[in-house]
Amino acid sequence: MALNRKTAALGIAAMVALMPLAGCGSSNNDNAGGASGSSSPSPSASASPSESASASPSESASASPSASQTKLTGDFEIQYFVGGYGDKWWKKVIADFKAANPDLNVIEDGGPKINDQNKPRWIGGNPPDFVYIDGPNLNDRQMVEDGQLEDLTEWLQTATNIDGDKILDILAQAPQQYDGKIYNIPLVLNSWGIFWDKALFKEKGWTEPANFDEFLQASDKIKADGITPFIHTGKYPYYINGAFLYPAIVSNNNDDYTILQDMAANKIDAYKSPAVLAALNQIVQLRDKGFIDKASIQINHTDSQMLFLQHKDAFIPNGLWLPNEMAKDVPQGFDFGFIPSITQKAGGKVVANTSTATVAIAKKAKNKEAAKAFLQFIFSKAQASQWAELSGAPSNIKGDISNSNAPNFVKDAAKYLTDPNTVVIPTITFNADVDKAMQDATDALTINKITPEEWVKRVTDVVAKVQK
């Protein structure tokens, strides 16, 4: 037995030395070849549109206000993840787009596992033309760094939608910039924030808070009444980071959200700003006053949300999808109260940290013309209200949806996010390593393992490493 193992180990070691480079290089090519062979039936279509698109990207697509003037032909493939927002809107908008472009063969790649299913094609350089970036295993910043997305900066300067409106002008939140360039456009406008049950507050005589002092006062009363004031999702600390910490950093930075953009751009000085420490100290206040439910650290979002719905806890940091997500479990009479941020001073502006999902065109798309036309098609007011109605979330297009059939909390949220007194932080994706470091550090902070200064030290160490 021992001998066999040893020989096996030796054999493997020998193979390590000899085989890897030769064996696997070829296998990769196989993969790529197989994928491209199976999924792009028309190589002829792939050559011509991309040539024409690269030759005259701005004229062909954006100069003409209605995309239908240029006849779109060939195949056009759309990858969309199906998650919390469902696929009703995608089905509808694709059907509409098909109707408007009868000569275009639209191929749908949709589903809850599509990000994994299509991964070999992105690796193999044969991606779909258009991608909706949402769900697990798909990260916009990483895709940009990997050079997989088409640079839309120039095109967007003049691009108009099918109604003739300039797309950049009608977006509620601006696209994220990577070194000044734009690769993806936010489609959804959702917001992080703090929830409570209005009915419970009324019953117990607590005041619904509008700023941090009121929040602390209310929490004192809540605790005195035997209920834990605050629960969060410690297993996934991006909830408390997104709904509490990031808005707090902005509030403490005189409502200037560029600090978060600097942080996302890995500028160490931004992390060392006093605003970051002040925001972390607000978490420390909650911790030291015993407002944070001890269960938080180990539970996931479903468990924390259930405890919140069962009135074990009064406040929860979460996103506007919460009422929809828990629709089946919301007790009778539960009335969601919501504020995008709770860390501002009395009289300060509310800060809304948006949560979004974006759309982009693959750099190696074979039908960029159709993809751009599709962008012009979906970023229109008609599709915006349709999105709100079918997906249960506000769309990223400015406009009044009060007359649409969207659910009430979506309309409320949209109102909040378009209010001139709300500071709306445009979508930000941190580097995945830095993001994880911040999540771990926040968790450690809430259980008294580290100090705010150590939080900053830990995170800046990772930022320094990532910069290299």
């Binding site: 064996g23 992105w122 405890l307 390593d433 450690a444």
Partner: protein, 300 residues
């Protein structure tokens, strides 16, 4: 002429079994291992078309990463804890159910085996409920004995949270090894025990001098198997219960590999962790084989 054909037929017969197995082994074991070794030499996000060959930089980074060391420590903690816990309990149950003739032995044998039929994922979820600070069984039980309601976050300590993963892991493992040892004990001729009884040996003495030496081979296999399945498979229970948290305190090599490959987009680095798991498993197996080597007692 004839002997050659017979020999050839014999080889053909053996070949029909060995060749397909070998081919599958190469495709599903050797090839992925080689592939992992290959990727561990690259800086690759796991999604990009381009990989950069960086020699052993992933390994250098790995040895500088404190979380990797913590993960290795946690893995070996689980290995040691599971070997001690499972072997003591499984042997105890096996002896109890075979050597002390009591009526409900069959019933208990089934009861102890049940956790093995349940998927580890279900076990993880189940124990998450037991450990839940608000609505969990453990705190509710402890609250029976205290005035104040107990609200310990069992999976949320600032350190040593890995200890809490040991009970579910042991609980899930006992049944299989118990059955293995029961089978071995039942192979020992009853006359050995009868003879020793006539000589006046007590149960403990019988256990030490008859049972253990004669089931040593099974105990050895059990220990090595626990070690290998833990190093390679502790990922599941960790990922279901804590995802390596809080603050990486329950990270094991497998969970950190997953985290790095699919959450933080360092596929090459993750492959390097995979290589580390392979190497450590091989070394530990060889070391354990040596340590447990003992003259096998043959029954004749």
């Amino acid at each position: 002429m004839k002997p050659v054909t017979v020999k050839w037929q014999r080889n053909l017969f053996i070949g029909t079994f060995i060749v397909p197995t070998f081919v599958f082994f190469c495709i599903f074991t050797i090839y992925p291992v080689v592939q992992a070794l290959y990727y561990s030499l690259f800086d690759w996000s796991g999604m990009s078309e381009n990989k950069t060959f960086i020699w052993f930089d992933n390994f250098k980074d790995m040895f500088r990463d404190p979380i990797v060391w913590r993960a290795v420590g946690n893995d070996y903690f689980l290995v040691a804890g599971k070997i001690v816990g499972i072997m003591i309990l499984a042997t105890f149950f096996a002896v109890a159910l075979t050597r002390f003739n009591f009526k409900l032995a069959g019933f208990f044998r089934s009861i102890f085996f049940i956790p093995n039929v349940i998927s580890v994922v279900v076990i993880g979820v189940l124990w998450n409920f037991i450990y839940n600070p608000q609505i969990g069984f453990l705190n509710a039980f402890l609250s029976l004995f205290t005035k104040e309601k107990v609200d310990i976050a069992w999976l949320g300590f600032t350190s040593h949270t890995i200890w809490m993963l040991l009970p579910p892991a042991i609980w899930a493992g006992i049944g299989f090894y118990m059955i293995l040892i029961i089978a071995a004990i039942q192979n020992i001729p009853a006359s050995f025990y009868e003879a020793s009884e006539l000589e006046g040996a007590g149960q403990w003495h019988q256990f030490r001098t008859i049972t253990v030496p004669l089931v040593w081979e099974q105990l050895k296999v059990s220990i090595i198997n626990i070690m290998m399945t833990t190093l390679n498979g502790s990922f599941v229970i960790v990922w279901i219960m804590t995802e390596g948290g809080p603050d990486n305190s329950t990270q094991v090599m497998g969970s950190y590999l997953y985290q790095m490959a699919f959450r933080q987009y360092h596929f090459g680095f993750a492959a390097a962790i995979g290589v580390l798991i392979l190497v450590l498993s091989l070394i530990t197996t060889i070391v354990l084989q040596r340590l447990l080597h003992q003259e096998t007692v043959e029954l004749s």
